[in-house]
Symmetry: C2
Subunit: 310 residues, 2 copies
């Protein structure tokens, strides 16, 4: 099965803007997605950093419709469609396919803990069978620090054997290079595309056969992350390690704060739109002091968000 049409490169789990009443703001969402595309970064909307699980399925369907309706290229989208409820996962995944999305990033059902690979296989198999579309490209989402439900090598092996081509890859947000390496070593040659969940592993990942990254901080530092991907892929970029160090420096600043509120605070700051800082519970905004400290840290590091208009 051809993997030429696959999404690769750097994707952003796009943060979701909320209005004062905590409803999603489609206009600012479209604007943000357009800005990310202008930086050569794809759209992993409805990820962990998107507060996707804090949105209802109706809200996600509506936001996706609004993006596509606004002319944003669905082929550059890899929406998160894995929910706790099979019926929600099927509905969202089918909708994403109908709109022509390049892929679907799927969390395992994450309420029950200690579930078996048999149960997880059944979950993904039911989604694939019910969606029933050979164009479907599923990316498995491994983020045990949050979901607490791992995507094991054994599960991937079984899924890849049963649904080659449809099971197209994984995002590895374990933060554990050994796990990323296990995915790469076992599956990268079998049409399975591995995206580390942070740009701190971008270069290491590409050197090991990875195809990019899907990273929180691609929301705020998209251009520089995409540049490392692009230049490395054209002649292995002599300055790749220097680029990687600079990416890590910026990432390190954000990592000093709760990540999602910090991403939104940075967009609010550099875009001149304070309402971007709004999050849905159970998250909380950075405090005024944290926002000021983050801005100072970023300014001191010479950080900018070129082209962002809020």
């Amino acid at each position: 099965m051809s993997t030429k049409d696959r999404i690769t490169g750097v994707l952003s789990p796009v943060v979701t803007p909320f209005k004062a009443d905590l409803s999603p703001d489609p206009e600012r969402f479209v604007r943000q997605c357009r800005w990310l595309l202008s930086q050569d970064v794809g759209l992993a909307v409805f990820g962990t950093n998107s507060e996707a699980n804090s949105l209802s399925t109706d809200e996600k369907v509506d936001l996706l419709d609004r993006l596509v309706g606004a002319g944003v290229d669905a082929r550059r989208m890899m929406p998160g469609t894995g929910c706790c409820a099979l019926t929600d996962s099927v509905r969202l995944t089918a909708h994403a396919m109908k709109l022509g999305c390049g892929g679907a990033l799927m969390l395992p059902p994450f309420y029950y803990k200690g579930v078996s690979d048999d149960g997880l296989f059944k979950n993904f198999a039911e989604v694939i069978e019910r969606v029933g579309d050979r164009r479907l490209r599923i990316y498995l989402y491994h983020i045990p620090p949050v979901s607490q439900v791992p995507i094991t090598v054994a599960l991937i092996e079984r899924l890849l054997k049963t649904y080659p081509g449809i099971v197209a890859g994984a995002k590895d947000s374990s933060g554990d290079w050994n796990n990323t390496k296990a995915y790469l070593d076992n599956f990268a040659k079998h049409g399975f595309d591995v995206f580390p969940g942070s740009e701190t592993f971008l270069l290491q990942g590409m050197r090991g056969g990875g195809v990019g990254c899907i990273s929180a901080t691609a929301n705020v530092n998209p251009g520089a992350i995409a540049r490392l991907f692009a230049t490395w892929n054209v002649g292995r970029a002599a300055d790749a390690d220097t680029q990687q160090e600079r990416l890590n420096e910026i990432r390190g600043i954000f990592a000093k704060y709760p990540m999602i509120p910090a991403l939104k605070a940075a967009i609010a700051h550099y875009g001149g739109d304070t309402s971007w800082a709004t999050v849905r519970p159970p998250l909380v905004e950075l405090t005024r002091e944290q926002k000021a400290a983050l801005a100072t840290d970023l300014d001191s590091a010479g950080f900018t968000m070129p082209g962002l208009t809020g």
Copy 2:
């Protein structure tokens, strides 16, 4: 604020029957709820044991409508309405109130881990404010082994102070008596009703000021559990400890198996309806061998499910 109209006693997190295509089966659900009420057990539908988080919000709204439409008494219902998405929690809770449910059992949003009490307070406060119904009775659902997001004493204190009467109690499924005791000691005298999450703590709970229990095994052993509650409340039941021991014996048999599939297998066996064993992924049915062993264990212990018709 009066607590006389409150739900007390034994409640069952009612297991949800599925058809072969994994859609919920309203007819068998109504029948099961009627049987539980006939055993003097209330209906904590949409709990952990109900596979509630494996159902979409639409499916839950529909099942609740079907129950009430069939004439099942909404005042005996405490549906689980706490979701990851604020909008889902508000919609379900408002719907439960509209139907006249006696209370709502609320999980905290459970995707993000390590969230602050500030964020959790905001979540529950938003639900309460948006539902905007003084008849609302919220029971906080503490089940850290599954949700991984605890309901702390400090959070309860803050909610109880801000929303007295509306914040009506908690289900404690920590399995940690010290936590149940902390809830009881701090709040039982302030109109806060504590339900241990297992009948193994029923007697101990009542002795400490608890008002009943909400327990998985109330799905299968409702009459005996309700009898301990009823007889203890009329003259402290001289044989209370003996009753408790017998409850523990039956619970112990179920605890040897994955709980939810085991509950469904027992209903399938004693109700003569094999399709009751169906679960949604990520759970898996007991194997044929496990089902046979469970039935043998239960039969040997003289266990029955009187009046169950499947």
